[in-house]
């Protein structure tokens, strides 16, 4: 028998490789680096938006790393659980598990291990244990409540499941102060109510993909017209809500201006989606929604680093 011949002794079957061909890059891909970068950004903003200067930057950066690893770990566990539907969808079929580069069990072990280590490291580096508890809850919510429960069972999946993606500012805030007051939860609320119009705009564009995978996204279950209405109503709620942090000590005039102008433009694009006139309207809203959220949090970051809070 030569080394290149199929190995017939494996219990998994004649063609199963003895040693995985997965590279470190495949495991990095399991962590969803783009989602991680968004989590790092919003958690960092939560840290700097907290009242007073960050007391210990080295510990804050270690906390930020723990939050990033926790987000990556939940991404790996999500890919482990969703490997079957990832294999069907055009957007996700090249991921490490459906493409056969990483065995499912390894992804589960990898995600589970990193989850434990990230929560433990945050408990060690953060002020108090609230941040670690919130991170543990975020991972649990994303993997168990959203991935295992909501995603395949209800068109409200991304509405409720969006909480997991919204929590990082509160985790960051708690990591440097040991508490999460109302202002921190306002930032969470901004991301939470931003998520439905953002993802529903995408699902209007990719409804065939979701249909093929059997995921009950709103356009597939209730129709495009109903989804367009919901996008409009959630946008009407989001735009004024996003201004509210400006009324707290967490934000100032730059944030307020960004929220007002950005909110007006968000509503304009959402109204185009609501009317259903142009085919490009959902794509336009989807693209702007990313810029809008980034602009809001970047404004907070600039305000605090430029000392605009006096």
């Amino acid at each position: 028998m030569t080394a290149s011949e199929p190995r017939s002794y494996s219990p998994a079957g004649p063609a199963a490789p003895v040693v995985s061909l997965a590279t470190p890059g495949d495991y990095l891909q399991l962590l969803k680096p783009r989602v991680m970068s968004l989590v790092i950004f919003t958690a960092l903003v939560g840290m700097v938006a907290a009242p007073g200067p960050v007391g210990n930057w080295p510990l804050a950066l270690l906390s930020l790393l723990a939050i990033a690893v926790g987000a990556g770990a939940s991404g790996a566990l999500n890919m482990w659980w969703d490997a079957d539907i990832d294999a069907v969808m055009e957007r996700t079929k090249g991921r490490p598990i459906p493409s056969g580069r990483v065995p499912r069990a390894e992804a589960a072990a990898f995600g589970g291990l990193l989850s434990l280590l990230s929560v433990w490291l945050l408990a060690l580096s953060g002020v108090g244990y609230l941040a670690a508890a919130l991170l543990a809850f975020t991972i649990f919510f994303y993997v168990v409540v959203y991935s295992m429960g909501l995603k395949r069972s209800t068109p409200q999946n991304i509405v409720i499941g969006g909480l997991a993606g919204a929590l990082p500012p509160a985790v960051g805030w708690a990591a440097v102060t040991g508490e999460a007051p109302l202002a921190a939860w306002l930032l969470v609320a901004v991301i939470f109510f931003w998520t439905p119009p953002h993802f529903w705009a995408l699902s209007l564009l990719k409804s065939a993909d979701y249909e093929a995978a059997g995921i009950p996204m709103m356009p597939n279950v209730r129709g495009a017209e109903h989804t367009r209405k919901l996008i409009w109503w959630y946008s009407l709620l989001l735009a004024p809500l996003a201004v509210l942090p400006a009324l707290t000590q967490a934000a100032s005039w730059l944030y307020a201006a960004t929220a007002v102008l950005g909110g007006a433009e968000f509503l304009r694009r959402a109204w185009h989606v609501r009317k259903g006139g142009r085919d490009s309207a959902p794509g336009s809203l989807f693209g702007f929604s990313i810029l809008y959220l980034f602009g809001l949090f970047a404004a907070l970051l600039i305000e605090h680093w430029a000392g605009l809070h006096g």
Binding site: Y9, V19, P58, L62
Partner: protein, 68 residues
């Protein structure tokens, strides 16, 4: 026992699962992939040790400053 576990094999007897004495080598691609993963695991362990050391160091320094 699943059907796949009873499949006749080259390295183990089909009935009892005992080693037959036959061996095999890994392909070059498998060896390279395993090597890269081993290095990544080693770097990960070292990074983790450094992280724990730094966290403990800064946490202790913070406590000492607070007490002083």
């Amino acid at each position: 026992m699943a059907d796949s576990d009873r499949r006749p094999s080259a390295l183990f007897t089909a009935e009892e699962g005992k080693p037959t004495g036959e061996t095999h080598g890994l392909s070059e691609e498998e060896v390279r992939a395993r090597g890269r993963r081993n290095i990544a695991i080693a770097l990960g362990v070292v990074a983790f040790i450094i992280l724990v050391f730094l966290t403990t160091f800064f946490r202790l320094a913070d406590s000492v400053q607070g007490a002083g």
